[in-house]
């Protein structure tokens, strides 16, 4: 049985759905970051698969830039989380409601 582009796209859909479920049900901000990484990785799979099946390198280039963005997002996000944890002692999403009207 031949593995085609649609196989990879379906796999990417499943992983993206898993990541979105994580984003919607998590309350702890660190675990919310994990779910974001899953989202970025599922899109990377789709880019690499399209790049392979169309013989085009642009998809791989976009995957590289997505990886760079994910790395800097982790650095800045963890810095902000550490500042928040020092101030308030927890990183729950529900405690960040200071802008609630």
């Amino acid at each position: 049985m031949e593995i085609g582009l649609s196989h990879y796209l379906v796999l990417s859909t499943i992983l993206f759905a898993i990541g979105l479920i994580g984003v919607m049900r998590r309350k702890n901000l660190l675990l919310l970051f994990f779910a974001t990484e899953i989202l970025l990785n599922s899109v990377n799979i789709a880019f690499a698969a399209i790049s392979h099946y169309y013989g085009d390198l642009t998809g791989q280039m976009f995957a590289f830039f997505v990886i760079a963005i994910a790395a800097s997002e982790v650095a800045v996000g963890l810095g902000l989380l550490i500042v928040w944890f020092k101030r308030h002692g927890n990183i729950d999403l529900d405690s960040m409601s200071t802008m609630k009207g």
Binding site: G55, A70, A75
Partner: protein
């Protein structure tokens, strides 16, 4: 044949690992499962002939990003179980599936119409790393430099945000010192 076996094996493993990451209540399990899933995803890149991307995936994700997350786990109090929102599970799963299908449709719609011409076509007898290098340093030079500046900004902001008051340790101070420290912080927040 072998490609199909490898694809299904790694697809199953990746979905299982990411499922554990999303559904477990232990933060340590989530971290290790995420690291394993990242390595399994690099297997897809190797199957697809993008060797350099697979190597970068292993180095950056399971090396750098996971080390940062492990540092964060040591810093935060992650030993207790993670409390979760008590929402409607069917709504969450349904919304996630619908939006994922929508995103993939948006990506795949131009492919179905078959009017795609390869902008930077793959040359058959050259290695993947060489090709990536040539395209990255000719056609994508400006985005590459901008990404470098972005990483520099992220590094500086990480040092400034996380490095404040790293010489004080809450666990080693006495109770009175901790109380003073927290009162000082509250004053700063309020002012």
């Amino acid at each position: 044949m072998f490609e199909a076996v490898a694809f299904y094996l790694f697809a199953f493993l990746t979905i299982a690992m990411f499922g554990i990451t999303v559904l477990t209540s232990q933060a340590l399990y989530a971290l290790t499962a995420l690291a394993a899933g990242m390595i399994f995803i690099s297997a897809f890149f190797f199957i697809l002939g993008a060797e350099f991307l697979g190597a970068v995936q292993i180095v950056v994700y399971s090396g750098a990003v996971m080390a940062l997350y492990a540092f964060g786990m040591m810093f935060f109090d992650t030993t207790r179980d993670v409390k979760e929102k008590q929402g409607n599970k069917f709504i969450i799963v349904g919304l996630a599936t619908i939006s994922a299908v929508l995103v993939v449709l948006i990506v795949a719609a131009p492919l179905v119409t078959e009017n795609i011409v390869a902008l930077y076509p793959v040359t058959p007898d050259v290695g993947n790393t060489q090709e990536v290098g040539v395209v990255l340093f000719t056609k994508f030079l400006i985005p590459f430099e901008v990404a470098a500046i972005m990483l520099l900004v992220a590094m500086i902001s990480g040092i400034i945000l996380a490095g404040k008051k790293m010489d004080l340790s809450i666990t080693l101070m006495t109770d009175a010192e901790v109380r003073d420290f927290k009162e000082d912080n509250n004053k700063k927040v309020l002012s």
